[in-house]
Amino acid sequence: MSEQANYTTTIPAASHWSLRVRRGMELRIKDIEGGANLGMLFYNPEDLLERYNAPDTLKCQHTFKLTKGNCLYSDMGRIFCSITEDSLGWHDTVCGNSTKSSIAKRFGDKNYQQAGNQWHQNGYTAFLVELAKYGLGKKDMAANLNLFSKVSVDDLGNLSYVADHSQAGDEIVLRFEMDTLVLLHTCPHPLHPAGKYPAKPVAITLQQAEAVADDDICLTHCAENGRGFKNNALYLAGDAGFTSATGHHGGCHDH
């Protein structure tokens, strides 16, 4: 195993950040206190028009919820990353973001001058700031992930936010299958019930992932994912760190 250092940090509550994650790396995300929500969006750093596509992700895998075994697709039929571990079983990707007005209505408006880092930041504004760093704007804001949050649907299509879904210590691991620009925020889920603004941090660790094995749970989850991995292999054909036509990472562990 290489000497490669792991990077670990904490994303405070009501914050936003972005980072470029290389293929072959994994991001472990932990809900430190319980009740966290992590808004997340993916873009291709080589082509910012390629972005996370929630409808393709859901219909390709015949699922409404995201959990271990699922892959997170771009609009170009490729996989940004795979969910290789998940202690929760359900993450939301249809409810979007909290907004300045929805946060003010639910929790009261606390601006930065009043409250400093304890302000009531909202998910929409948080993403706008990160998008602008890459020349992107509100046109580019796709349906996002809300990790650690569960919203279920009844027979008539009615949504219900499931309270107390994520507990302290719950974790999800994303393994990146192509280079990905990751945008994230730690603002509350837009359906979080009224009360005190849930100021919840998350911990993240970035480290080298294990190579994708032939029996990988995401690769074999469904025939669709097998084809998604093949689309990634075509995209990365000729790339030095990517040797197999089936899309397995090669050579990453032998530096």
Partner: protein
Amino acid sequence: MITESKLNATDAVIADTVLAGDYYMKVVKAGQTMRIVDLEGNQAADTLFYSAADPSERYSAMDTIREQGNVFLTTGTVLMSNECNPMLEIVADTCGRHDTLGGACATESNTVRYDLEKRCMHACRDSWMLAVAENENFGMTKRDITHNINFFMNVPVTADGGLTFADGISAPGKYVELKAAMDVIVLVSNCPQLNNPCNAYNPTPVEVLIWD
């Protein structure tokens, strides 16, 4: 909710037929009512809406779903923009349920859903790409193509979080009618999907009627 319209087709100021595999891109003014008719049944009309005054304000599936607390669209549903403003309201619906989770077909997603060799079959996102390329006056590009509505599609969610593409509940002559709350650009891809049994592998035309 099934609601019949009181409007007569003969009073419409615009009546256009959109063939399967074609797009439709026009401005509907605030106060006008637009009807989309499923002429032969079980066809999907993959539809996007934009504010004509500022197309960066557009239909948002997630804001619409969240604000009405329901994943299906029918009579009474207000279609919300990405700035949480009402864009249109569904005022009549003889189908009863329309999808906004499943998104549009694309040549790229067809490779994943069906077969890697389906990459050259005509798909909704290609129709939209042609629409934005041929209508430069609207100033739109691929950046503007987002998570859409599938009128006449039935995509139920199961209790354990599954997503199913159920048999169509539409039929020949069923329609959905929307009243515009702002001037909107309507962009329809009349779906050319040949891989999905939901249309019996037979894409068919829709009709768009507009009343003042």
